[in-house]
Amino acid sequence: MAKVVIKDSPYNLKKAKILDIKPLTEKEKLFKLVFEDKTWLDFEPGQFIMVSLMGIGEIPISVCSSPLNRHYFEICVRAVGKVTNSLHKLNGGDIIGVRGPYGNGFPIKMIEGHDLLIIAGGLGIAPLRSLILYSIDNRRDFGEIHILFGCKTPGELLFEEEIEEWSKRLDIHFACTVDRADPDWKGNVGLITSLIPGVDLDPTNTYAAVVGPPVMYKFVIKELLAKGLPVDQILLSFERHMKCGMGKCGRCQIQNLYCCKDGPVFTFKEIMDMAEAL
């Protein structure tokens, strides 16, 4: 057996340095990263990267910073298992492996010129944050921007400072809710779907971007359809098990679609007839 190094292997990694780690909640941390070779991660909001800890594993994680930020990129990681817990144990200055970006991301060019309704459930805010930051950076290219954010408890609220800021902005309509309040919570209580009827929007001119836990989609879509949103203007981002990110390993397949390659963002129209999607 001969063995050779293949630098052009699609599995090759780029080394990324952790500039900073910021705990957001008990389970989530925000990692600020730069490539060691000073190159820039060129991505679209909604795309993801494969993050590697050598000897432990490789996982898909959405990029959650603005694609226009040329200084660094960010990921928000919830500790649930092997790799994610190990990531949480790292410190600033540590090196991780990254390949990507992968997936299609949100169709920015299509959305521009329209109103945007963002609906985030829990960690779903991660990929959407990238879209929010992008639309704020390019505010004049979008119509009305509505952001609805929901999570289980106030303690699970992510990006609290930014939310504070968004909610103060005059050019954004921001609303937030929790399923279960605690004594300090002053805001809305209830499922995220309860916020939708209150949004004042022009259905024909609006794109909705929805990301959240699997159970959320069905109910949110029902509300959006009730509002009169056309099926091809509802954008959903899915989570599936992924190993390669390149449409080969077969793990993320939703019927004939590869979540990693054809998605993770799909219009409701694309998947509405697919039993395995929702």
Partner: protein, 355 residues
């Protein structure tokens, strides 16, 4: 059929040929394992080879996409070092049936799709394929004529076809003709042998009847109607989720990626292993949600991946008719029966040959 692309090998010289092949490079060929089971194995001498065999337990895809393959090597000392690697060797595959050649063509399609799987392409370059045509069905499980894999088309370097008292050999590449040269056992083909070959093919078309009561071109339509067919529920009861059907399939290529570190925890490799959509952890994500929890959904997914999804994506049916999945299934789930049941259930419109 240009006569100059054909050669003749006396049957008595096949052993000589195999032994000579063995001096050129490593040779893998079908070997008998008992109980009507065969396996491609590297051989030491011609005696080990079974010229008459039914499809091996695992298809020769194992040489292209090893069951366990290192993707990256890394060391974690003061500095992180990562190197993607590939291991390959020169190998001659002898005796590959046309169904398995079709399987390799399917793999080529997927793994040379962008982003290209460099390691696969490098290994593929170093493998020579010598085909062996079947003159009759291997057993009742095969359905190669249905998918058109019973005749040699492309995908090989040399193709051996057994005639009455000699082999006629088609040279399909310069790699193939090199072997003809180096072994020096072949004679040029004459018009008469070409005619005999033609006669054989004609005879074959009578033997290799389509075994499934429809035609290949109706598959998309058939499957578009069958997502909720009752057969899937039946499979729910039967299937053991053992993953045998996918492991033996020449066109399955799903995998898992794992890590292996040495005891110092500093050096290691990332590797991939074959994996299967039939297994529990396949589609599970954090939080324990499994997107194909039911065995019925998994079995359905398997069939759709063979007969529907990849037709859109790659323009090919991803079944080669080798019959391995039916042969290996201890629960007795048989591909031909499943397809027939779909056709039976899918009322009208679908063109039916019989039923």
């Amino acid at each position: 059929m240009k006569t100059e692309h054909y050669r003749i090998l006396e049957k008595s010289k096949i052993t000589d040929f195999l032994d000579k092949l063995n001096t050129i490079s490593k040779v893998a060929a079908p070997v008998y394992k008992g109980f009507n089971n065969y396996a491609f194995q590297t051989i030491k001498s011609a005696e080990e080879v079974s010229l008459k065999y039914i499809p091996t337990v695992i298809p020769p895809k194992k040489y292209f996409l090893p069951t366990n393959e290192s993707l990256l090597e890394f060391s974690l000392g003061n500095e992180l070092k990562v190197e993607p690697t590939v291991e390959y060797e020169n190998l001659i595959l002898f005796g590959v049936h046309t169904c398995d050649i079709a399987g390799i063509r399917c793999l080529n399609m997927v793994l040379s799709d962008k982003p290209k799987d460099t390691a696969y392409l490098i290994r593929k370059k170093h493998i020579t394929i010598i085909g062996l045509e079947c003159n009759d069905y291997c057993d009742e499980f095969a359905s190669c004529a249905f998918v058109g894999a019973h005749l040699p088309t492309t995908g090989y370097d040399l193709m051996f076809t057994e005639l009455e008292d000699y082999f006629i050999v088609h040279i399909h590449s310069s790699k193939g003709s090199d072997i003809i040269e180096k072994t020096g056992l072949f004679k040029p083909a004459q018009t008469i042998s070409m005619e005999e070959l033609k006669a054989l093919r004609e005879k074959k078309s009578a033997i290799f009847n389509n075994e499934i009561p429809t035609e290949r071109r109706y598959l998309p339509d058939l499957f578009d109607r069958s997502f909720n067919a009752s057969i899937w529920k039946e499979l729910e009861q039967k299937c053991l989720s053992c993953g045998n059907c996918t492991a033996v399939c020449p066109t399955c290529y799903c995998f898992d990626i794992k890590e292996n570190v040495d005891l110092s925890l500093k050096v290691g490799e990332r590797y991939r292993v074959w994996f299967s959509c039939q297994l529990d952890p396949f589609a599970k994500v954090a939080g324990g949600i499994d997107f194909r929890r039911e065995r019925s959904a998994r079995q359905r997914h398997r069939f759709y991946r063979k007969f529907r999804y990849h037709i859109d994506r790659y323009g090919m049916v991803f079944c080669t008719g080798c019959g391995r999945c039916s042969r290996t299934c201890m629960a007795g789930i048989k591909l031909k029966e499943v397809l027939t049941s779909l056709i039976r259930e899918s009322e009208a419109k679908i063109w039916r040959k019989w039923l």
